[in-house]
Amino acid sequence: MIEKTKLSALLKEALQASPADETELVVWSGTNALTRFAESRIHQNVYEENTYVTARVAVGKRTGVTMTNQLEPAELQSALARATEIAKASPEDPDFPGFPKSDAAPAADTFSDATAAMTPTQRAEAVSEAVDIAARKNTTLSGAYRISAFRFAVANTSGTDQSYDGTDAALSVFATDPNKVNGATSAYAKGIEGIDVAGTAQRAVDKCVAAANPVSVDYAPMDIVVEPRAVAEVISWLNFTAFGAKQVHENMSFMAGRFGEKVMGENITLVDDAFDTAGIPVPFDYEGVTKRPVTLIEKGVARSPVYDSLTAAKDGVANTGHAGSAAFRGGPAPRNLFITPGDKTRDELIGMVDRGIFVSNFHYVNGLLDTRRALFTGMTRAGTYLIEDGRISKAVKNMRWTDSMMRFFSEVAAMTKERETIGASWGAVGSVTTPTMLVRAFKFTGATEF
């Protein structure tokens, strides 16, 4: 990644030389490495060194954005000149509030030296360890071990000047037996110190072994005990359709018009807190604004979406520091979500079910059927079992479900006190920390052949 003082000087020089009235520069500079394996063999193994610079400018209340991956001063000036041309050709946005001035974010523990220094050989050794565990149970492994190390910086002509160094590490493991039955788990952490390779592999293998000889179950509403990976997947979709102020303004969100009303069960409290070290800290957003904790759902009541500078100005509220990239304008979104835990163990949840389904993973969730009702569909995957008389009795074939997530989170009968942090599907750094849940009468609507 680019050296810190060099980056600071480049940004300062570019801001001073910008032809626009206001200028904002956002830089991600770093490396990504990913070792992918299938059938217990490394089949893809990649490394990337890159820099992204997003240049956003304002000419009056007209804005334009360019993105380049070249950091030389002439390239930056070219990007700023092009952004200025775009701004001048664009219509005025009367709501544009100017680029925000943010106080410096507090220091956060975001970097792992061992992760930044991890070699391809070390990643291969980790995969080898996992593969050996699988072989002992006559299963093969697929999955990926990904690491990233980066410097993220935001500077603008309003005086915001922030940067931090970050890492993260993610391991996914998918075990397959000779009959093509699967079990899957994952691990996610700030760095490789937090990745339990052997434990993660063993859990996937155990799920796979337990999934042997699945039987068909008539699909109908049934109680489910649903593990964190599956819960995190539906939360990730809600992140896209519901939790940002833009989705609220466009009446897409299930929370729009319902703030202060009960939209989920009283046992559901959902908070975004970028500094909670139970997840992966992210000090500031794509506008350089220091992140604030936001309670999205409090005891089942819709409280607030998250904001960036534009949406906060529109609603006349404080900016919560959740801006996304200006190049895509998906709007603000939470990145560090936490669901308040319950007081049960996983076995106690299973013990509360007479007849139901244990769900390890969801697959191909889609949350666009009716975003106002948070009506989702998806499949179960890689570790689906029948619960009978308070015990897991046998494996079952996978099923389709179609249900409202407002109803899902209103029917949570109990949760575990233990939570797991799941790397979210929306980007390199972002997570959902959630307990396992017992959900009553989950709507299964179809079946498949395996």
């Binding site: 990649v46 490394y47 993105m67 050709a89 009506l375």
Partner: protein, 481 residues
Amino acid sequence: MKDLLKQAMDELKRQGVDYADARRVIGTSEILVMKNGKLETASVMESRGFGIRVLAGGAWGFSSSSLQTAEAVREVAAQALAIAKASATVGGGGVVLDERDAVIDRYESGFDEDPFEVQLSDKLSILAECCAGMSRTDGVKLSTASMMSFKNDKLFVSTDGSEIEQFIVETGGGIAATAMNDAGERQTRSYPASFRGDYATRGFEFTRSLDLAGHADQVGAEALELLNADECPAVHTDLIIGGTQLALQVHESCGHPIELDRVFGTEASYAGTSFLTTDKLGSFQYGSDIVNIVADATCEGGLGSFGYDDEGVPAQRTEIVTEGLFTGYLSSRESAPKIGQKSSGTMRADGWNRIPLVRMTNINLLPGAGTLEDLIADTDDGIFVDSNKSWSIDQRRINFQFGCEIAWEIKNGKRTRMLKNPVYTGITPEFWGGCDAICGEEEWHIFGIPSCGKGEPGQTAHVGHGVAPARFKNVEVGGKR
């Protein structure tokens, strides 16, 4: 840069690698999104860099950098080789590529009007006209108009001696109107397809040909009409699927399961595998005998068209389903030899910093005969759906469910009342086995989808699907659950 990359290939050969290739890509894209007449996104993005892929000891390594110096090329080549050696320690390599002659060529996709030379003000004025047209309908609360343009300048060299340059331009756009009522319900209607529209490997003349503004009033009116329409009933019925939805049906239930790398499990942990296992090739009845599907990267203007794939293999046309029988795969130089074939030329990478994967090209359902109105007239009792709203399919691509923007009831050969919130579901081979009519060439169009996801790290491919409306027997259709 070409000389530097060729030197790197020579050096890797000297070090005894099995094979190596290098790609330098300059990718430029422009995104314009206007909502209710306000410009939400106006961004131009350029990404430059190179990647080197090395096969050594039968295993792959890949490294890439945005720096384009001699030092960076040397470091990236060395890193790719070191990664390949690390890969070989788990599973022992074993990769064998098909034999290829060296290719030295340049390919340019055709276009009349360079989208990056069109004045921004011209584009914005079209988008503004679209928003105004949709918003003329009372009840339309959100009018969205968007355009995207892409150009890719690519250089490929390999240790086989290939040197290939390609320059590809793509454009397109779409509009969507969302009507809302006081109860908080919202309904969206789009043109020419949902999720940002229709795209082609052509210049800005394609975007102009869509006549987005000319359709804006109708799209706005249909959004409001949908809000007041009856709910789609839950029935088993004959289902006519319009082109924009059928394109995605082909994509999900045929395009992905014929990716041969996926069949061999390389995507197992992420997107999944495929029910179209190699034992089924040439013997499995995928659909009814009127179903003919080809993968054709040579269609003029198709969004999945190109000159060469990112392994230097020429674009091809491959029969996938022939009179209902499963007959072919999308494949690569690595996967094809495993079934005794040569690559069908479908390996594509999303930029310089990604490895090529087996990707869809233009997966085309070949036309039958007759117009859509003929097909409706031939249907006593059924439902006609179009424009995708949601999509989901299991990890082997068997059980699917799609939601659509709009439907109409068909009674006695006539399109009758509009229906909202249609959803249909099925099992892939049963569904295609029930296909009993496909409209003709006059209804056939290649829809371009610029957002096909695959792989880790994630990659987005631009693909096409040539389709005409078709009818499927006894499909489970339902409204909202």
